[in-house]
Amino acid sequence: MANKTPGRREEGSWDLKEIQELIDLLVDREIAEFEMEKSGMRIRIRRGQGGEPVRTAARAAAGPTVPAPTAETPAPFLPPTHGTPAPAEATAEESTEGLYIVKSPIVGTFYGASAPNAPPFVKLGDTVQVGQVLCIIEAMKLMNEIESEVAGEIVRIYAENGQPVEYGQSLFAIKPSVKK
C-alpha cells in the first residue's frame, strides 16, 4: 500500500486511491472482511456473499458500511463510523443493527392497547405484518394509530403503557422477516 500517495487530501486520512488499492489487495489475498482505523477514521470492507450490502444500523450515530466492491463501483470514501455492523442474525442485545426502529411521529402518550382492559396490540416475539397496528400515541384526543411499515418480529418494546413520549422517540424494534 502506498504511503505517500500524491493527491492525499489530509494528513492521516484516506483517499479514494488508497481504498482502491486496499480493495485490490483484499481481492488478491481473498480476504472476505477487513476493518482498520487510522487517525480517527475507520474503514470497513466486506466482500462476497452475493454482493449484498450489509444493512446499516438505524441509529443516528452509525455510519454507512462499504458494500462489496465490484469492478464498476469503487468503494466510496467513508466518514468515521462507530460500532460494527453485523448481519441481522448475529444481532447483539444492545445493538439495533438490522432492526427496523418504529419511532413516534408526535409528542404524546403511548398506549399499547386500544382500551385500559384490552389485550395489547403486540407483545415481544409477535410476528407483525405491514399495516398492523402496533400502538396508539395520543395528543389532545388525537389518536394516532402507529402501523408497522415492515413485516417481522417484535424484538423490543421501548415504551410502557401510559408513558409520555417525545417526537422521534423509539417505540419498537422489529427484526424484518427475510424476503424470499
Binding site: 384526543k141 388525537l142 389518536m143
Partner: protein, 331 residues
C-alpha cells in the same frame, strides 16, 4: 339497509317526499322521478318507515310525509353547501352503521377527498376515546366523521382537535343561540354537561400525514340520557328546552369547520389558540382535577401553548404542560 351507504335513489326519494311534503305524491310519479320501479318505491317506503320516517299512504293512492323528517339525507344537505366549500362536498349517508369513524378510516383518498362527510342516523358501535362508547340514539343526534387531508406535519396535527371543538361550539351558537363552553381539549358543554364529543384519529408516517378523521358527535334532540350519563351528558334540546333542526345544526357545523380549518391552514395555530381561549372557561384560572394515563392531581389552568397543550400549575406548585389526559372542573 344497515351497514350499507344509502342508495342515491333512496336519497332522491326522500328529497321528492320532502319537496312535496304538503301533498300526496302518487307512487308512479315518485317512481319516474327517482328512476326506479313502483315495486322498489314500495320497498323503500317500507324501509324508511322501519327506519322511523313517518310516511302516510300506500302504493295505490300515493304517499305523503306525516311529519317533515329530520333525516340528514345528502339531497337535503347538498343545496346548502356552497360550491367553494370543501367540508361536505362529498357526503356518504347511512341510516345505520357501526361507527362513522371506522367507515372513514377505511376509505381510500380516491374515494374520499379532503372534506368528505360520513353521516349516520344511528350508530351501533359509536366510539369514544380509549374504547369508550358514544351513545348514538336514532335520529336524535349528529353522528358524523369528516375526512381531512391537511398539509400539516403529523407533529402539528393535534391542534386540529381544538379547531374541531371550537367549530362545534360556534356551530351550536349559530344554529341554536345556545352559548356553550369548551373543556380542554374539545368537549363542548352546556351547563357543565357534555353535548358534543370529538374523537380524532390520524393515519400518518413519521413525516407524512395521510388522513385525519374528525369523529364529531352532537346530542341534539335526545329527550333523556341513559342513567349512567346523568349529570355528565346532555343534549341541545334538554338544555335549550326545545327541539332543534339537526339539519340546521349540521349545516352550521360544516360552515364553521370550513372557516376554522382555513384559518388554521392560512394563519397557523396561534389564531385557533387565541379563539379557543376566548371561548373556553377552562383556558385560565380553572381549578381542575387532571387525570393522565399514569397520574392524577389537582391543578389550575394557565393558558394554552401554541400546539394547543394546556399549561397547568399543580396545587403542589409544580408546573406541567398537559399534552394528553382529561380535566374535570372542581366545584
Amino acid at each position: 339497509m344497515p351497514f350499507a351507504p344509502t342508495d342515491h335513489r333512496l336519497d332522491r326519494l326522500i328529497y321528492v317526499l320532502v319537496k312535496n311534503a304538503t301533498v300526496v305524491v302518487p307512487g308512479p310519479k315518485i317512481a319516474s322521478e327517482v328512476g326506479v320501479s313502483r315495486a322498489t318505491v314500495w320497498t323503500w317506503i317500507e324501509r324508511l318507515r322501519e327506519a322511523g320516517v313517518r310516511i302516510r299512504g300506500h302504493a295505490r293512492r300515493g304517499y305523503q310525509l306525516a311529519a317533515l323528517p329530520d333525516v340528514l339525507a345528502p339531497s337535503l344537505i347538498r343545496p346548502h353547501v356552497p360550491p367553494q366549500q370543501q367540508i361536505g362536498r362529498k357526503i356518504i349517508h347511512y341510516f345505520c352503521v357501526g361507527s362513522t369513524n371506522d367507515v372513514a378510516l377505511e376509505l381510500s383518498p380516491r374515494d374520499a377527498p379532503h372534506g368528505t362527510l360520513i353521516l349516520a342516523e344511528e350508530q351501533t358501535a359509536g366510539r369514544g376515546r380509549m374504547g369508550r362508547t358514544w351513545h348514538s340514539e336514532r335520529f336524535s343526534g349528529i353522528y358524523s366523521s369528516i375526512i381531512l387531508r391537511p398539509p400539516l406535519s403529523p407533529a402539528a396535527a393535534p391542534i386540529l382537535t381544538l379547531m374541531a371543538g371550537l367549530a362545534v361550539r360556534e356551530a351550536v351558537w349559530a344554529s341554536t343561540g345556545l352559548s356553550a363552553d369548551i373543556r380542554w381539549p374539545n368537549d363542548v358543554l352546556l351547563n357543565g354537561r357534555k353535548v358534543s364529543g370529538i374523537l380524532t384519529e390520524m393515519r400518518a408516517e413519521m413525516d407524512r400525514l395521510h388522513t385525519v378523521v374528525l369523529g364529531i358527535g352532537i346530542n341534539v334532540n335526545h329527550v333523556r340520557m341513559p342513567a349512567e350519563l346523568k349529570g355528565i351528558a346532555s343534549s341541545l334540546a334538554l338544555e335549550g328546552g326545545q327541539r332543534y333542526s339537526r339539519l340546521q345544526v349540521l349545516l352550521a357545523l360544516l360552515r364553521e369547520l370550513e372557516q376554522h380549518y382555513r384559518l388554521l391552514i392560512e394563519g397557523g395555530s396561534s389564531v385557533i389558540v387565541e379563539r379557543w381561549m376566548a371561548r373556553s372557561s377552562y383556558a385560565q384560572g380553572k381549578h381542575l382535577r387532571v387525570r393522565t394515563a399514569t397520574s392524577e392531581y389537582m391543578a389550575t389552568s394557565a393558558g394554552l401553548d401554541l400546539s394547543g397543550a394546556l399549561r397547568v400549575r399543580r396545587d403542589d406548585g409544580q408546573e406541567e404542560l398537559l399534552v394528553a389526559g382529561e380535566v374535570v372542573e372542581i366545584k
